[in-house]
């Protein structure tokens, strides 16, 4: 029997589901944190209510206004988060925001009606009045379904993949040429906008808005729902919202607790649940990746026989000017990258001291030297991870000094990392697909406005990613989460990911370190093949045998300076260098 009592409980649970799903998009997918979700729900309710009562806007327009206001305010609030503020400070910032807005709702009496709030008329749409809970429940169900669909759609889109990448390793995402700051601002705005939407709609249901409904307790409650259900799992959020949302009606009907104490008892229960979950099952009831009845997977795009891959094969970045010979030559090629007087000090130590370098086009340049010579620092300086104190970096005569890592990658120079830095919870295919440049599906507006275009582009990106995996011999592991792969396999996936950026210049930081001798030859062959495909490569490498087999040109560094250059034979003839290198 669906009467008003049950309809009221159902509406409350639907609100919890929608709030939980939107916050889970932020926490589980983007790896950001917010203790202020109740505030955005509340700001949505206040905005819609005030626009209706004070400005006389029609309800639908008021709800749109509520979405815009929450979207913009969350965007501003997340400015520090976009600038790399994470972890504790993000908790602190959002917690403080929650407290302040709660207080402002009480203090700004002229606007909000203070602690006693204000009333809102019931909703009238298309000649129908939504007054009773039974009338309103289908409306809230539709809104909740919409929020779930948006959260799921964004989560599974290329934009969602980008968010997961930011969650796992933001620096690595930037190194692939993606703008992470904009993505973070957007996801804060979107998730708050979803909460604002639900809040705006709820204003017409409760017809009464007061600060007590949007306190920190509610924010904590929503976080509890997500944690109980499983961070990063929307199905879990739905289940947990039903369990925790059904708790209070249940408690109210227990005679010995009484209606007054049902709130604190509910809080004791979910607080205790939070403690025990974190102690014994931090992944929640339904962990990320879990789905009812097994996961339905999209079919793998048919692996087309790999055409000879050259950079610019997708029309992205032709490395060769028209009219110029594209045939690789062993003759000294014009340098594609020029580094002039590059310097960087850390405190009193000159990590890189006035280094001049040039990478010949379609050649392999090796940086060698003892530990601490500044080789990886050069990579960090050249790709914009660090800003040089002095000096210039030119890529094809374009000055890229001090540009952000994503801009450098987009201009055609990408790097790998010594410690691999794949996104461990994503599959190999997802890792590589993320690197494919110019994906319309990473743009939220395009996702909404041109879904078919995004779909086609996504299929192309996945095919491209699969081709890169094939080239590195990892195509049969495309569906594996990279956390489950061996270290050597991860290194190969990392090369595939680098390849997918379509950059003409590749910087490889110790690609052979830590892999077993059997895979060593595979890696060497792969790097040689990259060169044949027209890539310019700079490699930091410790093993002189590897350098001997790969490098056209070898640069020897000591204490931040270049002390010798030439072929490997020329360098190994100098006894002093060998001594420095092997420390004999």
């Amino acid at each position: 029997m669906f009467n008003d009592y049950y309809a009221d409980i159902a509406i409350l649970i639907l609100i919890y589901v929608a709030l939980g799903a939107s916050l889970n998009l932020l926490m589980g997918y983007a790896g950001q944190f917010s203790m202020a979700h109740a505030v955005f729900y509340g700001v949505g309710a206040y905005s819609a209510g005030l626009l209706t009562v004070r400005a006389g806007w029609p309800p639908l327009l008021s709800i749109v206004g509520a979405i815009v206001i929450t979207f913009v305010s969350a965007g501003i609030l997340s400015l520090p988060a976009a600038k790399r503020v994470r972890g504790e400070y993000l908790i602190l910032l959002t917690l403080a925001f929650q407290m302040v807005v709660s207080q402002l709702m009480n203090s700004l009496r002229g606007l909000t009606g203070g602690p006693y709030g204000f009333t809102v008329p019931w909703l009238s749409l298309f000649g129908k009045d939504f007054v009773s809970p039974v009338d309103f429940a289908p409306l809230m169900a539709a809104a909740c379904a919409l929020v779930l669909a948006i959260a799921w759609g964004i989560g599974e889109s290329p934009f969602g993949r980008l968010l997961k990448g930011i969650r796992d390793d933001e620096g690595a995402v930037r190194a692939l040429g993606k703008n992470t700051i904009l993505a973070k601002l957007l996801i804060f705005g979107i998730t708050a906008g979803l909460a604002g939407f639900v809040g705006g709609l709820s204003a017409y249901y409760y017809q009464f808005i007061a600060p007590g409904s949007y306190t920190l307790d509610l924010s904590i409650f929503i976080v509890s729902i997500i944690v109980l259900g499983g961070i990063g799992n929307l199905a879990g959020t739905v289940v947990a919202a039903i369990i925790l949302g059904g708790l209070r009606p249940l408690l109210q009907n227990l005679a010995f607790i009484g209606a007054d104490n049902s709130y604190p008892w509910q809080a004791v229960i979910y607080g205790a649940a939070l403690i025990f979950l974190m102690m014994f099952r931090p992944e929640g009831l339904l962990p990320e990746g879990f789905a009812f009845g097994g996961r339905r997977r999209g079919r793998l795009a048919p692996a087309s026989p790999a055409p000879p891959m050259t950079p610019g094969v997708n029309g992205h970045r032709p490395p060769v000017a028209p009219g110029q010979s594209a045939i690789p030559t062993e003759a000294p090629a014009p340098p594609i990258v020029r580094i002039d007087g590059l310097s960087k000090r850390f405190g009193g130590i000159a990590a890189v001291d006035c280094v001049d370098l040039a990478f010949g086009e379609r050649q392999i340049t090796a940086l060698i030297g003892p530990n601490g010579a500044g080789k990886t620092t050069i990579f960090n300086l050249v790709t914009g991870t660090l800003t040089p104190d002095r000096g210039r970096v030119l890529l094809r005569d374009v000055d890229i000094t001090g540009k952000a890592p994503n801009e450098v990658a987009n201009l055609g120079m990408a790097r790998s990392f010594q410690d691999v830095r794949l996104f461990p919870r994503l599959t190999a295919l997802q890792n590589v697909a993320m690197a494919v440049p110019n994906q319309p599906g990473e743009n939220v507006a395009a996702l909404a406005l041109r879904p078919l275009h995004c779909r086609r582009a996504e299929a192309a990106a996945r095919a491209e990613a699969l081709r890169c995996l094939e080239l590195t011999g990892m195509a049969d592991k495309a569906r594996e989460r990279v956390a489950n792969l061996g270290y050597g396999e991860q290194k190969l996936v990392a090369i595939a990911r680098l390849l997918a950026t379509d950059a003409a210049v590749l910087l490889l930081d110790e690609p052979t370190s830590g892999i077993d001798p059997a895979s060593l030859d595979d890696m060497i062959d792969l790097v040689l093949r990259l060169k044949e495909m027209g890539r310019t490569i700079c490699i930091v490498e410790h093993s002189l045998t590897v350098v001997e087999r790969l490098a056209d040109h070898v640069v020897f560094m000591e204490d931040g300076k270049v002390t010798a250059e030439g072929t490997i034979e020329e360098l190994t003839r100098q006894e002093r260098l060998v001594e420095v290198y092997f420390g004999t």
Binding site: V85, E88, Q103, V223, G271, M278, M279
Partner: protein, 292 residues
């Protein structure tokens, strides 16, 4: 023209408030800087101290000289049990910092909700607290104000001396700077974490009891002060206990002096604005070292 008497009064109020914030900040900072846990359940410890004092003094009728130390002891025990029963097992399972924060969040809400169930949502005050108001020049001061400033800074000074001069203090510093190395030279990290939890709990209990003597206890009393305490820790730099005290004092003065221009209702908005601006422009804190 701003009334100089108003400024003097707000300045005194700011020093009193700042001393309270400083003590709370130091109590949180000593735990956070050593264990790296966002110990939000510190709000629970604060609340436990206040209600324990009310039970001992009002219900059992104990005199204050007995009730206050007893309440502090209860708070210290609460902090110790939190570490032994919650954080230590989580560390063994190498729980993430976020997981530890969420558990801490859960504990803080359990404490405030249980306080509401047991003592009710209303304000409770401590019986028989002696207090006198007198004029210092033309500024009104109470003996409790003076007690709060003197006891607060004495406690902060004692902590600094403890950290710098004693064997335990040096062990805490060692663990804070590098737990692995500290372990390698034979310092038990678990015991040090327990020790700082107890020290932090003692300090926050002192702050809570000083507050309670002039004010009231209520179930959610802990959250605001702990939040401000952490903001002060952040402003002062998390690697520096004295910086936390300075940050707390500065926040107290800023909140109070902002009363010259805006209503006291917006005091917490001032604190938030300071936090936001600093996070945007100087994410390592005001006194913190520049991040690499």
């Amino acid at each position: 023209m701003i009334d100089p008497q108003l400024i003097a009064q707000l300045l005194v109020a700011g020093v009193v408030l700042g001393s309270r914030y400083a003590l709370i900040a130091v109590s949180f900072g000593v735990i956070y800087s050593t264990t790296q846990i966002f110990h939000l359940a510190h709000a629970g410890t604060y609340t436990v101290a206040a209600y324990a004092a009310i039970v001992v003094a009002n219900r059992f009728g104990a005199p204050l000289w007995l009730a206050l130390p007893a309440a502090a002891a209860v708070a210290v025990a609460f902090g110790a049990v939190t570490d032994l029963a919650m954080y230590q097992p989580m560390r063994r399972r190498s729980a993430t910092k976020l997981a530890m924060f969420l558990a801490s969040l859960g504990l803080s809400i359990v404490v405030s909700s249980l306080a509401q169930i047991v003592f009710g949502p209303q304000n409770l005050s401590l019986d028989r607290v002696p207090n006198q108001t007198f004029l210092l020049g033309n500024v009104t001061v109470t003996t409790l104000n003076i007690a709060e400033v003197v006891v607060g800074w004495a406690a902060i000074g004692a902590l600094l001396l403890f950290l710098r001069r004693t064997q335990f203090g040096r062990a805490i510093n060692a663990v804070r700077i590098n737990p692995q190395v500290a372990m390698a030279v034979g310092v038990s990290v678990d015991r040090i974490y327990l020790l700082v939890m107890m020290i932090g709990s003692l300090l926050v209990a002192i702050a809570a009891l000083l507050f309670l003597m002039g004010n009231v206890a209520f179930p959610t009393m802990g959250l605001d002060p702990i939040l401000i305490g952490f903001i002060a820790v952040f402003l002062g730099g998390t690697d520096n206990v004295f910086g936390a005290a300075v940050g707390g004092l500065a926040l107290g003065l800023a909140t109070s002096l902002s009363g010259i221009w805006i209503s006291g209702d917006f005091a917490s908005a001032v604190v938030f604005a300071i936090l936001f601006v600093v996070l945007v422009f100087r994410p390592q804190g005001l006194l913190g070292k520049a991040a690499l």
